[in-house]
């Protein structure tokens, strides 16, 4: 089979880092090729080079055997390369079709011929089984569907080679499966796909070949059938990785640390997103909220952490009524918060890493004394955390912007774990992390639990929920529709409850 893409000896140097160090990569026609590597290994950089967002420091690129200089994304698109970024670029108030044809609209006189646009989008959508309604408004679509719109956009522009950068990080298990089917359809039609993901199971089930890079260097390209998850993990991290979490069962004191009572919270459109939720998290316990994205989790967390107004109901921390507390006062109760959206809430991207790593306790000693900030302490602190949490960065002086996605996440995790935690609210704590880092963060969460922290874990990943939780609640449509002990839970039961069904029904043998 012929190579549609050949990248030879690609090197990319950023100030202080060699992001890509003499990497070779090739993509065969009709294959799904996974690019695997730790956080900061240089995957996104390599793909940004292929898509014309960066120019390589040295090295050459061949598209369909022809040496090509890709100077910008327009050149890439001309050459049949399409890229779906982890952060979408859709205009929320436009329809699907309007978004897709944006910049390349079919004209009717001076105006856009929306009928032609709709028809064309529908045709591509049907051809590859994407099932997207071209006339729907983007803001009404789930994340999973928005991602398909991005894929459609690339296809509409004539992409033969598709780059998907961590597409599954934001998807539910169901959506991941559907995306898998879509990718199979695409390659069946002769497209070729480069997929970046950290989920090894996915790699095994969907890809034809895997290329592993580590710290910017090419390690190996192997056929998926010749490998397994353990081997892949070892290749990318350079050591054996323990893919299961060590967690001793333990006795709980039964001290309620976090108590939520009949909470009602509105979303941005003033609709009730949390419709009367009550639960407790005990000292030294991990309580996980499982659920499909968009069922009120975000609003619930924001309400608890003082970032969103509570309509009614109460929140207690160690018996203290904190319902009306500001976010600072809540932090001062010993609450750590790993936010679900690291770029929106977790970091000031334009500030340097050192300044980011004190956010939330920046006004306390030793970082601030009588209003004056002590930058040598701040930098010492950042250096310590960078080392302890293995944040891959040239130094603490670079902006948070310049870190890879996973390393941004690690920086936040490090900052929050530095607090003296009574309560930890962790929303998607391992989103975008590599297996080694997931192992590490899971260990940290369990450690905190063992030391008595009450942990509220909100995760879309059932694996994570099952691995970490002591108790599990399932959230659906703003309510907790069921809660069970972790030892009684399995993926199937949770899956049914997450879709709004009840276990009793299943056991009664009824159809859902």
């Amino acid at each position: 089979m012929s190579n549609v893409v050949e990248m030879k000896n690609i090197t990319k140097i950023f100030p202080g880092v060699i992001a890509n160090d003499d990497i070779d990569f090739n993509l065969k026609k009709g294959e799904i090729h996974v690019l695997l590597g730790e956080n900061g290994a240089g995957k996104t950089t390599l793909m940004n080079i292929l898509y014309g967002l960066y120019r390589p420091t040295s090295g050459s690129i061949f598209i369909n055997g022809e040496k090509t200089i890709i100077k910008d994304p327009n050149t890439a698109i001309e050459k049949g390369i399409g890229m779906v970024h982890q952060h979408f670029m859709l205009v929320q108030t436009f329809t699907v079709a309007e978004n897709i044809v944006l910049g390349r609209e079919p004209q009717k006189g001076l105006s856009i011929d929306m009928e032609v646009a709709n028809a064309k989008v529908r045709e591509i959508s049907e051809k590859f089984g994407l099932k997207v309604n071209p006339e729907a408004k983007v803001m009404d679509l789930s994340v999973g569907i928005q991602q398909r719109v991005e894929i459609l956009k690339a296809l509409y522009r004539g992409a033969e080679i598709l780059i998907l950068d961590e597409p599954t990080a934001v998807l539910t298990p169901q959506e991941i499966e559907e995306l898998g089917v879509i990718m199979k359809n695409l390659v069946a039609e002769g497209k070729s796909i480069i997929l970046i993901t950290h989920k090894l199971k996915e790699v095994m089930s969907i890809s034809d070949r895997v290329t592993v890079i580590r710290r910017g260097k090419f390690i190996d390209t192997i056929s998926t059938q010749d490998t397994d998850t353990d081997h892949l993990a070892e290749l990318m991290v350079g050591r054996k990785v323990n893919l299961t979490v060590d967690k001793q069962t333990k006795e709980f004191t039964g001290n309620k640390v976090l108590e939520i009572k009949d909470l009602h919270v509105l979303d941005n459109r003033f609709l009730e997103a949390v419709k009367g939720i009550s639960f407790n998290v005990n000292e030294g316990e991990i309580f996980a909220l499982a659920g499909v994205d968009g069922n009120g989790q975000s609003q619930l967390i924001e309400a608890i952490t003082g970032l969103r107004k509570i309509k009614s109901g109460m929140v207690f921390i160690n018996g203290e009524d904190v319902t009306k507390y500001s976010s600072r006062k809540i932090i001062e109760q010993g609450v750590g918060h790993i936010p679900e959206d690291r770029q929106k809430r977790g970091l000031v991207l334009d500030h340097d890493l050192a300044e980011n790593m004190i956010l939330g306790y920046h006004y306390k000693e030793p970082f601030t004394k009588k209003l004056m900030m002590n930058y040598s302490e701040i930098h010492k602190h950042a250096k310590r955390l960078i080392k302890e949490f293995d944040v891959r960065t040239p130094s603490e002086n670079v902006t948070a912007h310049s870190l890879s996605g996973g390393n941004q996440q690690k920086a936040i995790v490090a900052r929050e774990f530095h607090k003296d935690l009574k309560v930890l609210i962790a929303a998607q704590p391992t989103r975008g992390l590599d297996v080694g880092s997931i192992e590490f963060v899971h260990k940290k969460i369990v450690e905190a639990r063992n030391n008595g922290t009450a942990v509220l874990l909100v995760s879309l990943e059932l694996d994570e929920v099952l691995a970490l939780a002591d108790r599990i609640g399932v959230i659906y449509d703003g309510r907790i529709v069921g809660s069970l002990d972790a030892k009684d839970a399995d993926e199937k039961k949770l899956g049914i409850m997450m879709a709004g069904g009840t276990i009793n029904k299943v056991e009664g043998g009824e159809d859902i």
Binding site: H85, L307, K344, L349, M372
Partner: protein, 368 residues
């Protein structure tokens, strides 16, 4: 290594304003040629007229002083993500309360009186700007709208006070004047020519030192204190700031108050340094708007603002000399305009690019 980085960082942030300035002068030269004059003669007049002697440099310093204050004022607000168009109004209330303080505390000796005058200007400006800050923080009314309205309110208020409250007729029983009472000698800032005689007849006064001191204070405030950390965080990412326990409402009000106090000080220092009184006028003083340009060209950085204020001081002082050399004074306006347009376009494109990058490549952006 670190020093090298610093130099690179400084160069990177100065590159564009410098290019803009060169372009401004080039475009200016084209217009000078078009008006049948020699750009060499014109620019010689400009720079000689503003820099060649103590007295011409003194005149430049005097022009630089108020816009150094207002440039800082705009920058502080910018850093918190606020656009303070109201420096005009804050300057006006600062000026009128300087006169009031000068009258009320007139028994005081020189230094305490000067301090009272400057502080009262600062407080008045802070208060005036806080109105807009408060409305923005609590009700969400955009600061651009409120500050523009407050500019006109300030102008009319000042005219009324000059006419009916601080008028010599009211306070000293003389006949009605179109201006307020004047500051007593103890309330006047020292002229530089009293310290260094070479400054001769230039209007330069010690206000420039107060302005430079404020540059230092604002630099420390923004980059070395937790107040500045919070202001900058709110400016760069209000959602993350909120998450970090930073009170957005409070910081918006603080930022506007600090900004307003600087603009108010501009008014007070202008009164104490040169005008000594406030006249009734239908016109805005203009220093507030110049401050926007100064802040833009100075990249909202206190140190950058020293240089950009000086540049605008040179242009405004040198323009008279150019006029004397027979070159239309509008040329200076053109040069200023070109510089501002280019710097503003650069900032706009940075903002747009950042928006785009934030979505398509989340990690780029260290190249500023």
């Amino acid at each position: 290594m670190k020093g090298e980085k610093l130099i690179k960082k400084i160069w990177n942030s100065m590159k564009f304003p410098l290019i803009a300035i060169v372009l401004g002068f080039l475009v200016g030269a084209i217009f000078i040629i078009a008006s049948d004059n020699s750009p060499i003669v014109a620019y010689q007049a400009l720079f000689q007229g503003s820099l060649s002697s103590f007295s011409s440099f003194g005149e430049t310093l005097y022009k630089t002083t108020p816009i150094l204050f207002t440039g800082l004022a705009i920058a502080v607000a910018f850093r918190t993500g606020l656009f303070n168009i109201g420096a005009e109004g804050q300057y006006i209330v600062g000026a009128i309360s300087a006169v009031a303080a000068g009258w009320y505390f007139q028994g005081l000796p020189h230094l305490p009186l000067i301090i009272a005058i400057v502080i009262s200007g600062a407080l008045a400006g802070a208060l005036w700007a806080s109105i807009a800050g408060f409305l923005k923080a609590k009700i969400g009314v955009h600061e651009v709208i409120t500050t523009i309205m407050l500019n006109y309110t300030a102008l009319h208020l000042s005219n009324y006070i000059a006419k009916a409250v601080l008028n010599p007729q009211v306070l000293e029983g003389t006949e009605k004047k179109a201006h307020t009472v004047s500051l007593t000698d103890a309330g006047k800032l020292t002229k530089l020519n009293e310290i260094i005689p070479q400054f001769e007849y230039s209007s330069a006064h010690t206000g420039i030192f107060i302005a430079l001191a404020m540059v230092f204070v604002i630099y420390i405030l923004l980059f070395k204190t937790s107040i500045g950390y919070e202001l900058r965080s709110v400016g760069k990412n209000p959602d993350a700031a909120e998450y970090g326990g930073i009170n957005k409402t409070k910081n918006i009000i603080i930022s506007m108050a600090i900004s307003g106090s600087l603009a108010g000080m501009a008014g007070a220092v202008q009164v104490a340094g040169l005008l000594y009184k406030v006249s009734q006028t239908p016109n805005m003083p203009g220093y507030g708007f110049d401050g926007i340009a100064v802040a833009l060209v100075g990249q909202n950085h206190p140190i950058g603002i020293i240089f950009s204020a000086l540049l605008f001081g040179i242009l405004s002082n040198g323009s008279r000399k150019m006029q004397i050399a027979g070159i239309p004074k509008e040329i200076i306006g053109i040069i200023q305009g070109v510089i501002i347009v280019f710097v503003a376009a650069d900032q706009m494109s940075k903002i747009l690019e950042k928006r785009k990058k934030a979505k398509i490549k989340p990690k780029e952006g260290d190249e500023k």
